[in-house]
């Protein structure tokens, strides 16, 4: 489907009327003139925290306001280990923002963003307007729930969790697994790629299977994957499933869930085949976070935000940069480590642009671990750079690959990965 000029203007119009409505609110402390040196960052996750911190580290004369609706952040990476019972609670995955303020002078505004006026360079929030010179959006993902018949964006996840944004949803899924009778069935539905964290659903499959093997004898997990095969680390997941979870995992490729019935815990494949479960973990198809969609920053696919591969500036609205899962970062996967790398390149080029200095081409890394059992993990890595002819981020040949096998040393490194990346985001 093509987005023509008329539809595009309609989309923009929608965004600006949303903006106007929100303008009625009272002004916050960041509503005045910016002094030409204010960067506003929206979203306190893997991308936003790093962008805010690195801008301040590189140039402390730039004012940075980080807007986040929560007073903490819970990491999606490793949340599958909590679901599998390897963590007591979510505290090892939770960070706060106070040290970003104490150590780097990042001003944190806990507020809900209600709209963006790209022309006026204003972010509307539940605590008033915030003006900016440059805006960095790291809004993560939202769900295309309209593509699943019977899915109510508000009520369905209360009984059929997605658990694809870590926090209460993650806790709900584990509680449902704990409450499930032995001999029961878990149904996991995976949307068509691209989605946040390509190996994530398969790590979740492993962790749920591990939980069932230990705590719920004779139970099984049916995996309905809309994709023709496992999207990431396929060989390693198949090997691990055969080694540990034979007879527990029933993996069914090319099974796209199109309908859900929360009342009788059933999902429907392509409108015809019913699959029932005691616990259903339905991960809906995804798009950029609603903030970016409402601001008219998504491209003709209506899902993801096209950006300049050097600066991560939106190709639609000037002075707005989009990083992390929400943006189109070429060959880079939608992962936490990708967001970390993108944030640093974006920060570098915002600082350089504000200081009239030369822009620097992107160089970034992805490293992403998945657990197959309590002690074994696998990873995928890659180095990424800009291809000038293609005007896109590509993988450096030879750098992309996966672990040769399941291993305990990878699990040890994985835990240090988490510790380091969360420390970098929060100190």
């Amino acid at each position: 489907m093509t987005l023509d000029r008329r539809n595009f203007i309609k989309l923009l119009g929608g965004a600006s009327s949303l903006a106007l409505a929100a303008c009625a609110g009272t002004g916050g402390s960041f509503s005045g003139p910016t002094g030409g040196r204010r960067v506003v960052v929206v979203g306190g996750g893997y991308g936003g925290t790093i962008a805010a911190k690195y801008i301040r580290m590189m140039d402390s004369s730039i004012e940075v306001v980080l807007i986040e609706r929560n007073d903490h952040f819970v990491s999606c990476p490793f949340s599958n280990l909590y679901i599998g019972g390897l963590m007591k609670d979510l505290s090892p995955l939770t960070i706060k923002y106070d040290k970003l303020t104490a150590n780097h002078g990042v001003k944190v505004l806990q507020a809900e963003v209600t709209g963006i006026d790209a022309a006026k360079k204003v972010v509307m929030t539940s605590s008033g307007e915030v003006t900016y010179d440059r805006l960095v959006l790291s809004p993560g993902i939202d769900f295309r729930t309209e593509e699943i018949k019977g899915y109510d964006a508000k009520s369905t996840p209360e009984t059929i969790p997605h658990a694809w944004k870590a926090g209460p949803q993650t806790v709900l899924l584990r509680k449902q697994l704990e409450a499930m009778p032995a001999g029961g069935t878990v149904v996991l539905s995976i949307p068509l790629a691209p989605f946040r964290c390509p190996p994530g659903p398969y790590e979740r499959t492993s962790m749920i299977a591990m939980f069932l093997k230990q705590h719920k004898p004779k139970s099984k997990i049916i995996v309905l994957d809309a994709n023709p095969d496992i999207v990431s680390k396929a060989g390693l997941f198949k090997k691990g499933w055969k080694k540990h979870y034979e007879g527990i995992i029933d993996y069914r490729p090319a099974k796209k869930v199109t309908e859900v019935n929360a009342g009788n815990k059933t999902v429907v494949i392509e409108g015809i085949e019913d699959v029932k479960g005691d616990v259903i973990n339905l991960i809906p198809p995804q798009r950029a976070g609603q903030i970016a969609v409402a601001a008219g920053l998504v491209g003709p696919d209506k899902n993801w935000c096209p950006v300049n591969p050097t600066t991560f500036e939106s190709t639609i609205h000037k002075s707005i940069h989009v990083i992390g899962d929400a943006c189109v970062a070429g060959a880079m996967p939608k992962s936490g480590y990708s967001a970390n790398s993108e944030a640093k390149a974006c920060a570098t080029n915002i600082v350089n642009a504000m200081n009239g200095k030369e822009l620097i081409d992107f160089s970034g890394i992805n490293t992403c671990y998945s657990f197959l059992s309590a002690k074994e993990a696998v990873e995928v890595t890659g180095v990424y750079k800009v291809d000038k002819a293609k005007n896109a981020i590509i993988a450096v040949p030879g750098s992309v690959g996966v672990s040769p096998d399941l291993s305990e040393i990878e699990a040890i490194y994985a835990e240090s990965w988490l510790k380091n990346i969360l420390t970098e985001m929060s100190t």
Binding site: S341, D361, N420
Partner: protein, 192 residues
Amino acid sequence: MTMKWRGWALATGVLAISAMAQAAPPTAAMLSNACAGCHGTNGGSAGPSMPSLAGQSKEAIVDAMKKFKSGARPATVMGRLAKGFSDADFVAMGEYFSKQKLHPTNQSLDAAKIAKGASLQEANCGRCHIEDGKEGKDDTPAMASQWLPYLQIQMADYLSGKRKMPEKMEEKVKPMSKQDLDALLHFYASVK
């Protein structure tokens, strides 16, 4: 029917600035910042199995990266990641991390082992691991304040033959007991 987004953006006149033409190649900071997700901001690791890169010499980092790239040094992710960079990139990263201050760590360590390790270090290792391991001769890596689990993983790789010891190191390490080596690692981890 379908129109690529660039063409569409140009046609609708909403294309933002194009930075491509004038952007310079990645700087040492751009290359090195990408490592910090695992090795800590400015190369100061939060532990426990990731080494700090801050305060390493340029030579030590270039040597390590070349060995990762060739496969001479055993690795999980580092062998593949090293293939994504050129020798000139290694030099740039080496220079960048060598300028960062040594990252002091607070670890729970055994005081008796530290004391024993200190005398072993002086008698055996100090000619290459100079200044109590805060610095290294030529491409010898700095050891001070590295996380103990990282040091233990590396020593296990040396002892199993997976990682090859330099000749001079082998001469010193071979006669030592496991307890001696453990004490040495406790000592290096304790140095600030």
